[in-house]
Symmetry: C2
Subunit: 452 residues, 2 copies
Amino acid sequence: MLRPRSGAIAVEERLARSAAATEGADIKTSEMLDWLTERRKVCTAQIRQVPFTELHGWSFSPDTGNLSHRSGRFFSVEGLHVVRPSIEWQQPIIVQQDIAILGILAKEFDGVLHFLLQAKMEPGNPNLVQLSPTVQATHSNYTKVHGGTGVKYLEYFLDRDRDQVLTDVLQSEHGAWFYHKRNRNMIVEVHGDVPQDEDFRWFTLGQLGELLRHDNVVNMDARTVLASAPMTHPERTALSSDNDLLSWFTDQRAGQDIQARCIPLNQTQGWRRGTHSVHRPDDKFFRVVGVSIEAASNREVPSWTQPLLEPVAPGIVGFAYRTFDGVPHVLVHARVEGGFLDTAELGPTVQYVPANYMHLPAEQRPPFLGLMLNAAPERIRYEAVHSEEGGRFLYAESRYMIVETDESTTPTEAPAGYHWVTPGQLSWLAGHSRYVNVQARTLLAALNYAGI
Amino acid sequence: MLRPRSGAIAVEERLARSAAATEGADIKTSEMLDWLTERRKVCTAQIRQVPFTELHGWSFSPDTGNLSHRSGRFFSVEGLHVVRPSIEWQQPIIVQQDIAILGILAKEFDGVLHFLLQAKMEPGNPNLVQLSPTVQATHSNYTKVHGGTGVKYLEYFLDRDRDQVLTDVLQSEHGAWFYHKRNRNMIVEVHGDVPQDEDFRWFTLGQLGELLRHDNVVNMDARTVLASAPMTHPERTALSSDNDLLSWFTDQRAGQDIQARCIPLNQTQGWRRGTHSVHRPDDKFFRVVGVSIEAASNREVPSWTQPLLEPVAPGIVGFAYRTFDGVPHVLVHARVEGGFLDTAELGPTVQYVPANYMHLPAEQRPPFLGLMLNAAPERIRYEAVHSEEGGRFLYAESRYMIVETDESTTPTEAPAGYHWVTPGQLSWLAGHSRYVNVQARTLLAALNYAGI
């Protein structure tokens, strides 16, 4: 009746074996990109920006100015008022109560775990089609608010047996753009035959690690689910014990003074609503725009319209990386974001939009930003452009980097608000909610699978 | 430079040794209660209920009716509006942004960890003086908003070295009475001499376990800090693996549909403000009242007034307890409380105020309540009356119980919303924020130290 607390199956070992497998049983590694290119060719969707008046079912409330769907589902765009001791601001924010399932099916082929990913079109993807989890289903999706067909493979996640669940954790998303958003990150293993649709392929973690080295191939949802898996790391030592790390994090969280509350969008100071966008007169940060999607053959519904949040410039997201006595560490930053449910989470060393700072003298720019922008090529252990969730963000690209640094730029004694952690410690914390932010989880996926 | 991730010192083993120590180096076990009785005698505080007009510095806002202090600190009493699919209600709620430090100093005597507790007066304690953590300091305390003297021993928690921290985690408090409240639960070890004040004594965990068997001796703050320590449990097996348990919890949290937001107290339907209390006309649930405290010699300030929340009837809080193949388990309940930061936490099997249900036929009463109320004496493994935080709640007593049950009343296959977990699993989760609610943490302290 009883089972081992550590799991009936040694999940960590099986994940490590899959991460080491650079070839797979389904698609050849050398053909992965060609297959994706082909899926992009057959995707006939046309995306164009439209004025808000052309959004079907979406409107601004006469009272609050909030932008929402007449069904009351999907999401809304409201205002957020953030007050911190030294700064105060207002901004639009996406409010989405729904907890989506981001689920990846896993299955053993020839003794190696493979993961079923989908070539999926999202309107905000720079190249339309990227690899997404097997299932990416908001509650609206699976209760069929938009009258589409059912979500493929969803039943494996709704009617799973507990022995099949390898990962199941609520994870936060972008605190600068979402209010209190979290999604359910799941990996579920299947043992029997699984019918395979033409948009779906099984990959080993090693193959996915290879794909993570390419720009705009693995979408955000797939990256965060992969990062949430309990990956083994060999290190048993670190600059901080796990307990020290938790105490430092508690101290960071307890020390934050932040008040953030939703306000009506039409009372959001510094922002204006035009016919085609909600934006700032100085055009900083982002815009809220409307898009029309036509004839998307591989979506549940062929055509629709929706709002998207469009950042005005690309970001830089990076970890400083050092080894101490041979043990790799990355420098995390306790980041406060207005939309976080609980004040601060562990973010990358650098997570900024450089365009916001380049007019400033170097010493007034954010810490470590120059370290990423000016990194010598031989010190760049990882570099790829990834975009954020294409169902909510339009062309939200960031350059993700892992850069080797040294004592002169990133001292062993980290500055206030920063802490050195090992990839194993980061993986451990990513197994629980709201420790590791979504950008750091993308970098964690790279650390775990891309052979950094 | 590196240290073991699992900690430089085997904290778990040292805690277990202290838990096994039924005698201590400071106060004799047989004299603990006498000492507390004596501390109660020298406490000269007089508590009396006063009309709101006699509260100094506290007033109801003309706009919102919220009750708050003119300094803007301490806490306020506002309204809460909770909407769930089948039920909707409004109630007063305590809002306190401040994160307090609840800190216990630890020190080895004769190779055994001892913990420094304070005989402390709180106005809402039924017997005025209970054992509290070494330090119980809100941010208001240590920035001295109320003009009192400094908090004794606080410097050990503010200026600690990281090797000294045994426990440091933010824990939620009563979601039915507090809005998004959490406190910082800390245990910090000291190595040098510590000056010992007459209200303070060092106890082993075994001695504290003995005291937990007595009514109203160990206060809530001490109970939650003790429960947050990383106690070892021998079991390596359980009905669910740790991963299954996390997945079940994620499912419970993801499945909740709850909207809770603060509203003005004067718009809180069903509640009335009188001269002496904010209450319901049917006098259900609780009242908000004012108290005056005079000549309390062992507090930072000798006299003060403040509001307190006074429940109208005592509660029953209990775990159903079974062993499966020799391994102890308790039945946790995924409880939704309106003031939780994140929808649901793991609570006891039973956490109710029986007076609210006794007019109903048995089959309409909450599940498992009868199991606690009618437990045969020989099946009661633990039973004690404890009160909740006496600085916020007036005489908020509950009978805490751990009751042995069987398949006929509490089946192996737990009903929806309930789950069997081992004490080790509960301790593991209590090492992170917001998994285990404050009532379950009191029972966990009993499981860990009271020789259940």
